[in-house]
Symmetry: none
């Protein structure tokens, strides 16, 4: 092992990491603190930092060092660091600066056009900008390289190794079963109790702090702030920032927002100290990161044992609105299944149908089989087929998400993969943690956090997602555990038998 | 004019500016938002950013561009930009990257050790970190070069062109006169009215927001937050951040903290748009920057006309504590001259004696005549000689300021220079703004802000301090206007005649 060579590599890798941390902190500040008049200046600051990062990734001396390390026998963690940075550097070199600038311009224009289109209820105002973004993404796919399917090159950014040919049958099986379950729930005639009243925001925030603390989130190595859209930023395992939003008329968005973001936050706080500050301190895929937020938000946070532990505290904060509600009623109220046309407000059962819709459409658009002008029609038709209804209008439908406005293509499937991995992981945790649910019902969430930390968080991306999950659970990707979980839970809530 | 050459220079200059903005935002976040466990990681992030800045300043292509521009006929603003960056680049080339990184690390460690030492009331916990910082500053002075006096090289960073040999006689004259005035005040037997009661922090903050708004600070291009030690950071003229601290038993520290920081903030918001984002958007010296905070805090903020305008509002917020106080009594209460051992809470008369104390000690430490371990003893002895008393303990004494904790040496004299320039500037403003004090007594502070913006803020550092002040006032640096101001004000308040 040539330690001088390694030292050169490690210095470059760590510097890049710190620069990324700085850039991401500027982004956090932009969403939480930035004075209104400062956004133009902030844009320039971030752009310069991104340029420095790009320059360093493309530095020929980095390429030389990586090439020289190919001849060295590296221990697995170092090999993973080299593999990771090599992949990033290669990707950066393949994307010329002209393309990067063109994308930034198209994203700005896309966002503006999307806002206008929503305002005016006119999709046609957005279509040309979307066409431009799709063209740039196709160009990106060709620059990065692929085996004939452009969408795979984009998917690979979020889910390394994933292929649309493997995802489509998975989504088809999943959708069929979810449609069936949703229809049976609708046919059951049962309705969930309403939650009504005034919920003081400061008290909601107090409760959210209690929840994330109970989940084992370390507030001396993190924060919980407010922003327009909740998000989590891991600047470093000792500096993990959750944001949340609050509604006075309903505490559920804030509660499940906090639990969801905290699931991400525990991942970011949980990287082993030895990989903190290296490029392994990250999830191997967006889907695995999302599995942590989904596991906590839905599989744990919407369970009856969880609320047996925490509902009394919530009642004490809001005695007028919740004092007379039984915990079983509250549990039902946080597990309603309905017909939301909006993905981010959808329940667990129909959520993945929303994703199936987006996957079908964006794969077709990137393949060139669907033109932007035809998108609203295709959206409404696919929505009817998958969800059983079509949206009232384009704002509620095809224009609802910001992702395409910003030119993000290939990201949606990660949400569903997160749900599927969450169920696989929780099955294994149930097998390995004695009396897991009884402990949850006493508010003891740390055993689960410890299990996840050891199995998933600590190793970061030393291994890919498939290997990480298999090492933790013995299982590979499958829709079955997730479906079994849904049938068990909603079967009981709505008095259904899976049958068939 | 070779526009391609200029474009290259300007791009480099602006990128450096954006990188500095990013680094300073990380510093602001450290003082206001950073989770306790994250300070080590933050230290590394800042260090890498500083290294990038250093690398770019030392880039030979920048030196070549600057050399090539020497042959061009540049308009004055561009010439000033080149002069400024040339000076910075020269300084940076003299400081090796290893030194820069070591300083950043030592600063982070120094700050942490200082906090621990204050907590534990143990100076010895801070002494080793201070020793390390002083060694780095001596090394810096030698690297930068000096004419035999290391302290001059450090002073020059804050006050370009200043020399300790010139400052010491100025401080000696000033100290003698201030000691005399302070003793006469003590001998006058007059006591200032006490301010007592409970002052809810949220209301104090409301009042501070009203004050800074009345001073013309734009809160859509800035913020007012809390931190342990008040400070101001200008990320950009559209993003200027003030911080303040609050005491429940006395509103004065917060009020004058806010006015002081706002004085700095108006400078940062006041740079002409054409120089925003360039290296001219800064004061030519720390002393001139400080003149703005001092002018507002003391010469305006502690004046009777100011409180004629704003005392009724303060009374309304705190009717129990202040309802029965006359404005003249409140004016006297904010102009008490006493024996504060804490510089930032000292009155105008003894304040500069605190600075004389620090100048004497830090000059001795840098010269190697005083070791960190001997510092508390020397502090107490010098305090007795200059101020007439010594502090109760080290937290109240040698550990009170953050500057040495952060390794800032050579900075303290700027505070006194600020006081002297403030008096010179206000004399000129009184001559040029019709009915200035009557307008102040009606709460009209904008005419003064406009005069300062035009004369001092807008040009930034196109000219040096001496030239800027002379262009604004026709006067050069002198202690006389400041002393005349003090004798007039305190003579009246305490019934004294300057005599002699």
């Amino acid at each position: 092992m040539n330690e001088k060579l390694w030292g050169d590599f490690e210095g470059r890798m760590r510097d890049l990491r710190e620069l990324r941390s700085a850039a991401s902190l500027l982004g956090w500040d932009q969403e939480t603190c930035l004075p209104p008049r400062a956004s133009e200046a902030r844009g320039r600051q971030v752009a310069v930092l991104e340029a420095v990062i790009h320059e360093r990734l493309c530095d020929p001396r980095l390429a030389d060092t990586i090439a020289a390390l190919a001849g060295e026998a590296l221990p697995p963690d170092r090999a993973a660091m080299v593999r990771q940075l090599s992949r990033e550097a290669e990707r950066a070199r393949k994307l010329p600066e002209a393309w990067v600038r063109a994308l930034a311009r198209a994203q700005s224009a896309g966002l503006a056009a999307w806002r206008q289109a929503r305002e005016a209820h006119r999709f046609d105002l957005f279509a040309p900008a979307l066409g431009k973004l799709l063209a740039l993404r196709r160009e990106q796919a060709d620059l990065l390289g692929h085996g004939g399917v452009r969408y795979d090159a984009l998917l690979d950014i979020y889910e390394p190794g994933a292929r649309v040919a493997a995802l489509q049958p998975l989504f088809a099986r999943l959708s069929t079963e979810l449609r069936r379950l949703a229809e049976m729930i609708a046919g059951s005639g049962r309705r969930t109790p309403a939650i009504e009243g005034r919920f003081e925001v400061a008290r909601q925030e107090t409760f959210c702090r209690e929840l994330v603390t109970a989940m084992g989130f370390d507030l001396t190595a993190g924060r919980l702030d407010r922003s327009a859209h909740p998000f989590t930023l891991g600047v470093h395992p000792t500096d993990v920032r959750l944001t949340n939003r609050y509604r006075e008329d309903d505490p559920r968005p804030a509660i499940f927002g906090a639990i969801h973001e905290c699931g991400h936050g525990l991942y970011e706080q949980g990287f082993a100290p030895v990989i903190a500050g290296t490029n392994l301190a990250d999830a191997p895929s967006f889907g695995l990161h999302e599995s942590q937020s989904r596991l906590w938000e839905n599989l744990v946070g919407r369970s009856l044992p969880f609320w047996r532990a925490f509902f009394p505290g919530l009642q004490k904060l809001f005695p007028e609105a919740l004092g007379n509600l039984a915990v079983e009623e509250f549990h039902a109220a946080v597990n309603g299944v309905g017909h939301s046309p909006v993905r981010v407000e959808a329940d667990e059962v129909t959520y993945n149908l929303h994703i199936a819709l987006r996957l079908a459409l964006e794969a077709a658009m990137i393949a060139g089989d669907l033109e932007p002008a035809e998108l609203p029609g295709a959206w409404n038709e696919t929505s009817r087929r998958l969800l059983g209804f079509s949206p009232r209008d384009d704002v509620e439908g095809v224009l609802q998400d910001i992702h395409w406005a910003w030119g993000d293509v290939g990201y949606f499937p990660s949400y569903t993969l997160g749900n599927l991995y969450a169920a696989i992981l929780l099955d294994a945790a149930e097998r390995e943690i004695p009396n897991l649910w009884e402990r949850v019902s006493h508010g003891e969430l740390l055993p689960l956090r410890e299990w996840l930390r050891r199995k998933i968080h600590a190793p970061g991306r030393q291994r890919d997602t498939e290997e990480t999950v298999r090492a933790a659970t013995g299982e590979g990707l499958s829709e079955r555990p997730f479906l079994a979980y849904l049938w068990a839970k909603y079967g009981e809530l709505y008095g259904l038998a899976r049958g068939r």
